[in-house]
């Protein structure tokens, strides 16, 4: 499919990834069991006398079994593969500066989406978000840091333009009542 297939490689998986697979495998087992419980206890609509083979929980239950099975294979495979220093590598990746950058984007996005949108007028929330995003990534988290005067100018300009254009285009041209 478009977009996201990793390039075929013949390199062995990194130790950190093997340990991450173990955690993911355990998570999928838990998720699978939880979904199976939900599917098993789902209303079987006996009152409506539907055929027992067509109950709403049938497919979710089958998928839950498949997920649990895949999670188990993933976990076992991870346990059987030697991965010395895997946990250290994994914790290093989670605490790396790259992860911090991604976490900052998530934080800014969550503040904008869950906090600002709906509380402030849409244009103001958008302007603030664009301004903060550019300033944080150009003057604080970039290497080398960019001169703050130039970034301030760009961030303010782009914030005003984005807030105005997006609000006008969607509200006037597409008649969307923005949040």
């Amino acid at each position: 499919m478009t977009t996201d297939t990793p390039a075929p490689s013949e390199t062995a998986p990194e130790p950190g990834m093997i340990k991450a697979d173990l955690l993911a495998g355990l998570f999928f087992i838990l998720l699978g069991l939880a979904v199976f419980y939900g599917a098993w206890t789902m209303d079987r609509l006996e009152v409506r006398r539907i055929h027992p083979m067509t109950v709403p929980g049938l497919v979710p239950g089958m998928l839950a079994i498949a997920l649990t099975l895949c999670g188990t294979i993933l976990s076992f495979r991870s346990l059987r593969t030697p991965a010395s220093g895997g946990w250290q590598q994994l914790s290093g990746a989670v605490l790396s500066s790259a992860a911090a950058r991604a976490a900052t984007v998530m934080l800014l996005a969550l503040i904008y989406t869950l906090g600002l949108v709906g509380t402030l007028p849409f244009w103001a929330a958008t302007g603030l978000f664009v301004f903060a995003f550019i300033m944080v990534f150009e003057c604080w988290l970039s290497e080398p840091r960019k001169p703050w005067r130039k970034s301030l100018l760009w961030a303010s300009g782009l914030a005003v333009v984005t807030a105005t254009v997006v609000t006008l285009v969607f509200e006037r041209a597409f008649l969307v009542r923005l949040p």
Partner: protein, 508 residues
């Protein structure tokens, strides 16, 4: 045959109007820009544009979306050649030879060949689309509930298998997660609400567009912003328009790659990136200049670009005739078609046969636009590549929020987008492909409904799922696919074949 040609003429005439030509021009150009910008992918572009085309006439909306899709897949090659970063994952294979060519001072030649190869690849795919789609649509009329259940399962499985080449297990898990997401909301057989936990917004299930905008938009923003290294643009002033001999010299590579790309496109949920890699590998295997591959081989570049562009028309074959998306972007196109009242599937050729030929015409027009823009707008596109990602991504996130919100105008869809973005990012970091997940979301309902409807029709007897001829064939293929993804089984099967060949050569 004659009817087909007439309808194709009708399709071409239908879009030969000033408004349509204007839409073709801007949508293809926008696609090229989106494809060229690292971090903006074809699927993300199509998903965001659905919102902007919401109020257009159905034919014009699909025209814009298709043109953007074609433009974006081509546009990625520009970044691959000049920056050594694939603009979209579809151009990853282009990087291998495109960038070395640029380093040798042949950036213009590489860009020119990428443009002509993309155009030729699309044309090979278009011919296949026009020839195969009507036949497949007719054959699909024989498909019943049982066959559609197996097809949906096959689509998710094969997508999982082929998009996670190193580790099919992760592809399967992504597919199952997608199918589980599709289980949320009201099921269609008995109108029972599943896994809604009393949240009324979940009653209608998870909408595909916000989920896609999250998985391909927000997740991509997180991935791009995570990286710190900025690439340097390599460009040169050599000629962009290639000589005829340069293109003609590799005619067999072009045809082979076009056919491989088309075939990959037909396989549900397996998209342009796999098409490019498969074409590249095949070209390398049979080339007389194997040693040049990866060091600036024109043949390698041609194979990769022809392969990824041929996937687009190829992907439209199952999309239009079976409503099984041939690629991630095609999944968004299906959602867009439903929004505009067009129902892809086996009945399309009966209800709306002109539509297929309109798609063929759109692809032809967009190829021409791509060729013109690609060969002429070299400098402006270079400027686009210099836009700092810190500034671009802030604006793109705002578009993700507005894009998810605009269709149904509820904040719940924005939360879905954010949720899918974060989960999608974590899954990508752990090398889970996104394509099977998306395919699972779109095919989940088809799989669930057809399995239970089939069982209802037979009063609980599952035997028709295994005894009807087409069902049995698809079932056997599924079992073989799963078996071959188990390393122990595939190694043993390969060793049997190798031994057989070894014995034969020893006897000979």
């Amino acid at each position: 045959m004659f009817d087909g040609l007439l309808m194709l003429g009708g399709g071409l005439a239908h879009f030969f109007t000033p408004v349509s030509l204007f839409n073709i021009a801007w949508a293809t150009l926008l696609g090229i820009v989106i494809g060229a910008l690292p971090g903006l992918t074809a699927t993300m572009g199509v998903a965001l544009l659905v919102t902007l085309t919401y109020k257009m006439a159905p034919d014009q909306a699909i025209l814009c979306l298709m043109c953007l899709y074609c433009g974006a897949i081509y546009g990625g090659s520009r970044t691959a050649i000049l920056l050594s970063i694939p603009g979209t994952p579809a151009s990853a294979a282009t990087t291998l030879d495109g960038h070395p060519l640029a380093l040798q001072g042949k950036a213009g030649t590489a860009m020119g060949l990428a443009t002509t190869s993309s155009a030729l690849g699309t044309i090979v795919g278009i011919i296949a689309l026009a020839l195969i789609a009507p036949l497949l649509a007719e054959a699909a009329l024989q498909f019943g509930t049982y066959e559609f259940f197996w097809l949906a399962l096959f689509g998710v499985l094969i997508s999982g298998q082929l998009t996670a080449i190193d580790d099919p297990l992760k592809g399967y898990i992504a597919g199952i997660l997608g199918l589980l997401v599709a289980m949320v909301g009201m099921e269609t057989l008995h109108a029972h609400q599943r896994f809604t936990f009393g949240i009324s917004s979940l009653g209608g299930g998870v909408d595909l567009i916000p989920a896609m905008v999250g998985a391909f938009g927000f997740a991509e923003i997180l991935g791009v912003m995570k990286r710190t290294a900025q690439a340097r643009i390599i460009s040169s002033g050599d000629r962009v328009i290639p000589r005829f001999s340069e293109v003609f010299q590799y005619k067999w590579t072009t045809i082979r790659s076009g056919l491989i790309g088309t075939f990959v496109g037909i396989v549900p949920g397996v998209g342009e990136d796999v098409g490019a890699w498969a074409s590249y590998a095949a070209a390398k295997r049979v080339s007389k200049e194997k040693h040049m591959f990866g060091k600036g081989s024109q043949e390698g570049l041609i194979a990769a670009e022809t392969g990824n562009s041929a996937v687009i028309p190829g992907a439209m074959i199952p999309t239009l005739t079976l409503a099984l998306p041939g690629s991630a972007a095609a999944a968004v196109l299906i959602a867009a078609m439903f929004i505009h009242g067009i129902r892809p599937g086996p009945l399309l050729m009966t209800e709306n046969p002109e539509f297929l030929y309109q798609i063929v015409a759109i692809l032809l027009f967009s190829t021409i636009a791509m060729l013109i823009f690609g060969l002429t707008l070299t400098r402006p596109l270079l400027t686009v590549l210099q836009v700092p990602r810190e500034r671009l991504m802030a604006v793109v996130y705002v578009l993700c929020v507005v894009g998810s919100f605009a269709i149904t105008q509820r904040m719940f869809d924005v939360y879905v987008m954010v949720g899918f973005g974060i989960i999608g990012f974590i899954l990508r970091e752990m090398k889970y492909p996104m394509a099977p997940l998306v395919l699972g979301i779109i095919l989940g309902d088809l799989l669930d409904l057809n399995l239970r409807r089939g069982l209802l029709l037979t009063n609980g007897d599952p035997s028709p799922f295994f005894t009807r001829p087409i069902s049995a064939v698809i079932c056997v293929i599924i079992i073989l696919t799963i078996l071959m993804s188990i390393p122990a089984v595939s190694t043993r099967v390969r060793s049997i074949f190798t031994r057989g060949r070894g014995d034969a050569s020893a006897q000979g």
